[in-house]
C-alpha cells in the first residue's frame, strides 16, 4: 500500500476516549431508530456493555450519560432497575431544526467570522503549498458535489472539499479548525428546511477556488473564499429567520 496521504493520517489518527463514547451513543441511537432496540427494552448491565464494546467503565458511563441527556434512555435504581430505552432518537432533520431554533443570529454571524479567518489563511497557504496532484484531487471533489444525490451526501461532499483544501495547506492546526467548523455547520447548510441550497453554484464556486489556487493567486482566492462563506452564512441566517421568526410579521401587527 502507498504511504498514507496527510488526509488519511488525519482520518486514521488514534481515537480519543470521547470519540469512542460518541461511537457508542451513535451505535445505540441507530439501533433504536432501526427498531433493533425497542422503547421499554432494558440494555445489558454496564459491566457487560463495557466488555462487549471493549471500552473502559468511564467511557461507557460517559456514553450512557449522553444518551440520558438526549432523553433516549433512562436509568432506574433498584431490583428491577437498569438502563431502559425510553424514546426514539430525534431524526437528523429534527436535530438540525432544533439547532436553528436554539442558535441566535449573533452566534451564526460569529461562526462565519471564525470560518472566514480560518478559510482565508488556509487558501493563502494552499496557493503557496498545493501541488498539481492536490489541485486535481480538489477538482474531482468539487465536481462530486454536483453528482451527490441527497442533501446529506452534498453536505459530505462540501465539507470534504473544504477539509482537503485545508489538508493541501499543510497546517494540521488549520485543518483541525476547518474540520471542527465543518462538523458544526455543514448539515445545517444542506438540509432543506426553509430554502434549498443550490449545489451547482456551490460547486462552481469550489472550482473557481481551485483555479485560483492552481494559478497561485492568493488575493483572488481569498476574496472568493470570503464571498463563498458569506453566502453560506446568509443562507443559514435566512433559514434561521424563516424557522424562528416567520410568524412574527403577522403576530406583531
Amino acid at each position: 500500500m502507498d504511504s498514507p496521504t496527510s488526509f488519511q493520517t488525519q482520518i486514521y489518527r488514534s481515537l480519543p476516549e470521547i470519540e469512542r463514547a460518541d461511537a457508542i451513543v451513535d451505535r445505540i441511537s441507530k439501533a433504536i431508530a432501526l427498531g433493533l432496540l425497542k422503547v421499554g427494552e432494558r440494555l445489558p448491565p454496564e459491566a457487560a456493555l463495557s466488555e462487549m464494546f471493549g471500552v473502559g467503565g468511564a467511557t461507557l458511563r460517559e456514553a450512557l450519560s449522553e444518551l440520558r441527556e438526549q432523553g433516549i434512555v433512562e436509568t432506574r435504581r433498584g431490583r428491577s432497575g437498569g438502563t431502559f430505552v425510553v424514546n426514539q432518537p430525534r431524526t437528523r432533520t429534527e436535530a438540525i431544526r432544533d439547532w436553528f431554533l436554539s442558535t441566535s443570529i449573533s452566534e451564526i454571524r460569529d461562526i462565519g467570522d471564525e470560518h472566514s479567518a480560518v478559510a482565508a489563511a488556509i487558501i493563502r497557504l494552499a496557493c503557496e503549498r498545493a501541488e498539481p496532484h492536490d489541485v486535481e484531487r480538489l477538482q474531482e471533489l468539487a465536481r462530486a458535489l454536483v453528482l451527490a444525490p441527497t442533501p446529506e451526501k452534498r453536505a459530505t461532499a462540501d465539507s470534504r472539499f473544504h477539509i482537503e483544501l485545508a489538508v493541501s495547506a499543510q497546517s494540521p492546526r488549520l485543518a483541525n479548525a476547518e474540520i471542527r467548523i465543518q462538523e458544526e455547520t455543514v448539515q445545517q447548510i444542506w438540509t432543506p428546511l426553509a430554502v434549498a441550497f443550490d449545489p451547482e453554484q456551490a460547486a462552481a464556486e469550489h472550482l473557481e477556488l481551485v483555479r485560483a489556487v492552481a494559478q497561485d493567486q492568493p488575493e483572488k482566492a481569498q476574496g472568493l473564499v470570503l464571498e463563498h462563506i458569506r453566502r453560506n452564512i446568509f443562507h443559514l441566517i435566512d433559514t434561521k429567520l424563516t424557522l424562528g421568526y416567520s410568524q412574527s410579521t403577522q403576530d406583531a401587527q
Binding site: S104, I105, S106, E107, R109, D110, I233, F234, I237, D238, L241, G244, Y245, S248, T249, D251, A252, Q253
Partner: protein, 235 residues
C-alpha cells in the same frame, strides 16, 4: 420623507420595550442608593455592613426581569473601605439558578477586571446619566456577547457607583426580532456609535458599524433618554 406606518409602529414598540428596561434600571439604582444611605448611617466608606441587603436587590431584579442575565452594583473604588468588596453582581446560570459572579479584583493581576475604565461605568460616572454599552464581549467579566444598561447613583450627594443589568444578545434577539420583522424592508436597531444591536435580515448584522456617508438608509431616533438609540431602515 414621512416614514411608513410599520416603521413608526416598530420604533414605538422598540422605544416602549427599551424604555421599560431603562425604567427598571433607574428604579434599581434608586433602591441601591436608598439602601446604602440607610446602611451607611453617615459613614463615608462602603464596608461589609453597608452591603447588607444589596444581594436581595440584584436577585429580585433578575427574578422579575427574565430578559436580563446579570444585575447588580459596581462601586467607585474611592468609596470602598480598603480591602473591601467593591461590587455586588449576580447572574443567571445556564441551569436558570441565580448566583454571585466573581471578578478578579486584584490590580496588576493578569485577569484584573478594571471596570472603572469600562464605558458602562465611566460614561455613567462622567455624565451622571443612564448609559448603554454594547454590543461588546465582556472579557474577564461575564465573558459573553452582551449589552450593559447602567444608571449612576449618589449617596449623600456624591457619585458612588452604578447599578445595572446585562442582556445577552442571544436573549435580546427573540424579544426584539418580532418588532423588527414587522418592517417590510431591511431595518436595524443601532446604538449611539452606529453599531448594529439587531437587524431584521442578513443586511444588518449585530456588531456591524454603519459607516456615515453610506446613508442609503433613513433613521428614527428612539425616545429613550441618554441612550442614543436609533432605528435605521431602507426606505
Amino acid at each position: 420623507m414621512i416614514p411608513d406606518t410599520e416603521v413608526v409602529h416598530s420604533a414605538q414598540s422598540l422605544t416602549s420595550w427599551i424604555g421599560g428596561v431603562s425604567t427598571g434600571i433607574k428604579e434599581l439604582s434608586a433602591n441601591v442608593a436608598s439602601l446604602l444611605e440607610r446602611n451607611l448611617l453617615g459613614k463615608a466608606k462602603v464596608d461589609k455592613a453597608a452591603l447588607a441587603g444589596l444581594d436581595k436587590l440584584s436577585q429580585e431584579f433578575l427574578a422579575k426581569n427574565t430578559y436580563a442575565v446579570g444585575a447588580g452594583t459596581f462601586f467607585a473604588h474611592e468609596f470602598v473601605e480598603h480591602g473591601g468588596q467593591a461590587l455586588e453582581w449576580w447572574s443567571r446560570r445556564e441551569s436558570g439558578a441565580i448566583g454571585r459572579l466573581d471578578f478578579d479584583q486584584t490590580p496588576g493581576s493578569s485577569r484584573y477586571y478594571d471596570y472603572e475604565k469600562l464605558p458602562f461605568f465611566s460614561t455613567a460616572a462622567a455624565t451622571g446619566e443612564q448609559t448603554l454599552w454594547g454590543p461588546y464581549i465582556d472579557y474577564l467579566g461575564f465573558e459573553d456577547y452582551i449589552l450593559t444598561f447602567t444608571a449612576p447613583f449618589s449617596v449623600h450627594g456624591h457619585f458612588t457607583g452604578v447599578a445595572g443589568c446585562d442582556i445577552r444578545l442571544k436573549d435580546l434577539e427573540p424579544r426584539l426580532m418580532p418588532i423588527l420583522r414587522a418592517i417590510p424592508g431591511d431595518a436595524a436597531l443601532v446604538n449611539a456609535s452606529n453599531r448594529v444591536i439587531l437587524g431584521n435580515s442578513g443586511r444588518y448584522l449585530v456588531g456591524d458599524r454603519i459607516k456615515t456617508g453610506s446613508s442609503v438608509q433613513d433613521r428614527i431616533a428612539l425616545d429613550v433618554p441618554h441612550l442614543g438609540l436609533s432605528l435605521i431602515y431602507t426606505a
